[in-house]
C-alpha cells in the first residue's frame, strides 16, 4: 500500500508522530555534533513541556471549541503536586530518577485532572466569552491560593499551613512549598528524552481521543451544539471529558516543566503564561495537533534566536504575532494568494486535502 492510499486521517497521525521523532533524532544528532548552543539546549525540556501544553489546550480550544484562558493554572497544580510527591519519595529513600519522575507525573496529572473536573462542572454551564473569563478567574484563584500554601515534610509526614513556614511546626523536615517563594530545591530529573516521551504520550492520548467515538461527539458539539444535543449527545459530558483530559495532560506537562528547574514560583503560572499557550494553539491552527507542536517549539525558540537584539526581541515577537494574524486578511495578500493559486492550479487539490481536514 503506497503512502497516498492511506486515509488522510491516518496519514496526518503518522505525520504527527514522525515530526516528533524526526525532531528528536535531529536534535540529538546536532547536540552530539556540538551545533546546539548552551542556552538552546537548556530550552529543550521547556519546549517539550510547552508542546504538551499546546497539544492539550488544543483539545479544549480547537477540538472542543471552548476558549480557555486558565491553562497555566492546571499546569501549576500539576507542577506543585509533582514537587510534593517527589519531595516525599526522596525522603522515603527512592533513588531512581526515572521512577521519581513517573510517580510525580502520574500524581501531578491526576491532581490537575481532578481540579480540572471540579472546575469544569460549573464552567461548562457557561458559553463563549463568559466561559473564557471564568477559566481566567480560576487560573488566577489557583495562583493566589498557591501563593499562600506552605507545605513541608518530615518524619511524621506532610505538614500544611496557610500562614507561614513557622506554623508548620516542623523541627527538621524539608520545606517543599514556601508560599510566594514557591518550591525550592527541586530535584532536576527532567531530561530531553523524558520530555519527548511525554510529548508522544500526550499526542497519542489526544489523537486517540479525537479519533474515537467520544472525540467525534466532542467535535459535533463544537460544530453545532444544538444539532448535537438533538441527536442525543450529552453536551456537558463531552465538553467535560475534553476539559478534564486537557487539564490532566497540562498537569503532567507542569511536572516536566517544574523538574527542569531547581525553583519554581506560583507567579510564573499566571495569566500571561496561559495566553502564551493559547497563542501556540491559535498560530498552529486550531484542532491541528502537529500545527500546535511546530508552533510551540518554534515560538519557544524564537525569543532565544532573537537574543542578539535582546532589548527589542519581545517587541519583534509582538509584531510577528500581529502580522501573522493580520496579513492573511489583507486584500493585497489575498489577491496575491489567489494569483499564485490559479498559476499552480494543479497543486490545489492536494493542498485542499491537507488543510481541509483540520478545518472546522
Amino acid at each position: 500500500m503506497s503512502f497516498k492510499n492511506i486515509k488522510p486521517q491516518t496519514r496526518s497521525t503518522i505525520l504527527t508522530y514522525a515530526i516528533v521523532i524526526v525532531a528528536f533524532i535531529a536534535v540529538t544528532v546536532l547536540d552530539a555534533a556540538g551545533f546546539i548552543s548552551n542556552s538552546l539546549s537548556g530550552q529543550l525540556v521547556p519546549i517539550c513541556a510547552y508542546v504538551c501544553l499546546a497539544v492539550s489546550l488544543n483539545l479544549v480550544v480547537g477540538v472542543s471549541g471552548e476558549l480557555s484562558l486558565g491553562h497555566a493554572g492546571f499546569m501549576s497544580v500539576g507542577a506543585f503536586t509533582g514537587v510534593i510527591v517527589a519531595g516525599c519519595l526522596t525522603r522515603l529513600g527512592l533513588e531512581s530518577e526515572l521512577l521519581l519522575f513517573v510517580a510525580s507525573a502520574i500524581v501531578g496529572a491526576l491532581a490537575a485532572g481532578v481540579i480540572g473536573f471540579l472546575v469544569g462542572i460549573p464552567v461548562m454551564r457557561l458559553r463563549g466569552d463568559y466561559l473564557a473569563i471564568v477559566t481566567l478567574a480560576f487560573g488566577e484563584i489557583i495562583k493566589n491560593l498557591l501563593n499562600n500554601f506552605y507545605i513541608g515534610v518530615d518524619d511524621a509526614g506532610l505538614h500544611f499551613s496557610m500562614q507561614d513556614t513557622a506554623s508548620l511546626g516542623m523541627q527538621q523536615g524539608t520545606i517543599l512549598i514556601n508560599g510566594p517563594k514557591g518550591a525550592v530545591g527541586i530535584d532536576k530529573v527532567s531530561t530531553f528524552v523524558i520530555g519527548i516521551v511525554l510529548v508522544l504520550i500526550t499526542v497519542a492520548i489526544v489523537l486517540n481521543l479525537m479519533h474515537s467515538r467520544d472525540g467525534r461527539a466532542i467535535m459535533a458539539v463544537r460544530d453545532n451544539r444544538i444539532a448535537a444535543e438533538s441527536v442525543g449527545i450529552n453536551v456537558t459530558k463531552y465538553r467535560l471529558i475534553a476539559f478534564t483530559v486537557a487539564s490532566a495532560l497540562a498537569g503532567a506537562a507542569g511536572v516536566l516543566y517544574a523538574m527542569n528547574y531547581s525553583t519554581i514560583t506560583p507567579s510564573q503560572f499566571d495569566f500571561n503564561q496561559s495566553i502564551l499557550i493559547l497563542v501556540y494553539v491559535v498560530l498552529g491552527g486550531m484542532g491541528n495537533i502537529w500545527g500546535s507542536i511546530i508552533s510551540a517549539a518554534f515560538l519557544t525558540v524564537l525569543p532565544e534566536l532573537l537574543r542578539p537584539i535582546n532589548d527589542y526581541r519581545m517587541l519583534i515577537y509582538a509584531v510577528v504575532l500581529i502580522l501573522v494574524m493580520v496579513v492573511p486578511h489583507l486584500k493585497i495578500y489575498q489577491r496575491a494568494a489567489d494569483a499564485l493559486r490559479s498559476r499552480f492550479s494543479k497543486a490545489t487539490p492536494a493542498v485542499a486535502a491537507e488543510g481541509g481536514e483540520a478545518d472546522e
Binding site: 478567574a137 488566577e140 527589542y312 509582538a318
Partner: protein, 293 residues
C-alpha cells in the same frame, strides 16, 4: 468608621475599574471582541501624563488633556492597523491580535521608559476632606475619582441615548449588517468607540496613578483584567452594568484586603465573579439572549 473609610476607598478603586470597564464593554458591544490591549492603553495614558508633568513641566490639567488626546489617537491607530483588517475573521484571531498589541505596547514602554518603577508623585494637590471631627479622612483623589466616574457615566448614557452618533453605536451593536443597510458608516462608528474607550482609559490611568503612585510598563495589565472581570460581572455590552460591576468589584476587593488578607484579595474577587456568573450567567444587568435554531 473604618467600614465607612473602606467603603469610600472601595468606591474610589471601583470607579477606576468602572471607567476602564466602560471602555471594555463599549468595544465588546460594538466590535464583539475582547480588547486585551485596553489595560495597556491605561499605562500609556499614565506615562504620557507623567512625562508631560515631570519632564515638560506642563500644568496638570493640560497634561491630563494631552494624555487623553494621545490615547485617543493611539486607540484609533491601533484599531485601523490591527483590528480593522480582521473584521470578518474568527474572534480568536482578533483576540490573539489584541494580545499582540498588548505585548507591543508593554515592550515599547519598556524600551522607551525603562523597567524601573516611576514614582507618580501625587498630581492632585487638593487638601483631604475631614469628616466627623477628623475621624474620617477622605483623600481628594478619592473624591475626584468617584466624581469623574459619575460624570463620565452620565455623559456616556446621554451620549448613547440622545445623540445621532450614539444611536448609530447602539444600532451597530444590535445588528451590524442592518445598521449598514440603514446608511450608518459602521467603520467610522467602530473607530469612534475605540477613540472614546481609549480616551476613558487615559483618564483611568491618570486617576489610578494618582491613588497608587507607581508606574511600570506592566501597571495596566492587572487593572485591565479586573476591569474586564467587572464588565462581565455587570453584563458585558451594558454601560450601566460596567459601571455597577466596576464599583462592586472595587468595594469587594478593598473589603477582602481589609478583612481577609492582601494575599487572598484577588482570589476573593474572582471567586465572587464565578459565583455570580453561576447564578446569573449573563451578568448583573446583561440580557439573557436565547439562541435561535
Amino acid at each position: 468608621m473604618e467600614v465607612l473609610a473602606n467603603l469610600i476607598n472601595g468606591m474610589s478603586l471601583g470607579s477606576v475599574y468602572a471607567i476602564i470597564a466602560l471602555g471594555y464593554t463599549m468595544v465588546y458591544g460594538i466590535a464583539k471582541m475582547l480588547n486585551f490591549a485596553h489595560g495597556d492603553v491605561i499605562m500609556v495614558g499614565a506615562y504620557i501624563c507623567f512625562c508631560a508633568v515631570s519632564y515638560l513641566g506642563i500644568p496638570v490639567i493640560a497634561a491630563v488633556l494631552l494624555s487623553i488626546v494621545g490615547c485617543t489617537v493611539l486607540g484609533i491607530v491601533v484599531e485601523r492597523l490591527a483590528y480593522k483588517p480582521l473584521r470578518e475573521a474568527p474572534s480568536l484571531n482578533v483576540l490573539i491580535t489584541a494580545i499582540g498589541v498588548s505585548y507591543f505596547l508593554q515592550n515599547a514602554a519598556l524600551i522607551i521608559m525603562g523597567s524601573d518603577p516611576k514614582s507618580f508623585s501625587s498630581i492632585i494637590s487638593l487638601p483631604a476632606l475631614q469628616l466627623f471631627d477628623g475621624r474620617l479622612t477622605i483623600s481628594a483623589t478619592a473624591v475626584l475619582t468617584i466624581a469623574a466616574c459619575m460624570i463620565i457615566m452620565v455623559a456616556l448614557t446621554l451620549f448613547t441615548g440622545k445623540t445621532k452618533m450614539g444611536k448609530a453605536m447602539r444600532a451597530c451593536s444590535e445588528d451590524r449588517d442592518a445598521a449598514q443597510l440603514m446608511g450608518i458608516n459602521v467603520n467610522s462608528t467602530i473607530s469612534m468607540v475605540f477613540a472614546i474607550g481609549s480616551g476613558l482609559a487615559a483618564i483611568a490611568g491618570v486617576l489610578m496613578c494618582a491613588a497608587y503612585p507607581t508606574l511600570m510598563p506592566t501597571t495596566g495589565s492587572m487593572p485591565g483584567i479586573k476591569a474586564f472581570t467587572a464588565a462581565v460581572l455587570g453584563g458585558i455590552g451594558s454601560i450601566p452594568g460596567a459601571a455597577l460591576g466596576g464599583v462592586l468589584l472595587g468595594i469587594i476587593e478593598i473589603f477582602a484586603r481589609a478583612y481577609i488578607g492582601t494575599q487572598l484579595a484577588d482570589a476573593v474577587v474572582f471567586a465572587v465573579l464565578i459565583v455570580m456568573l453561576l447564578i446569573r450567567p449573563a451578568g448583573l444587568l446583561g440580557k439573557n439572549v436565547s439562541e435561535k435554531v
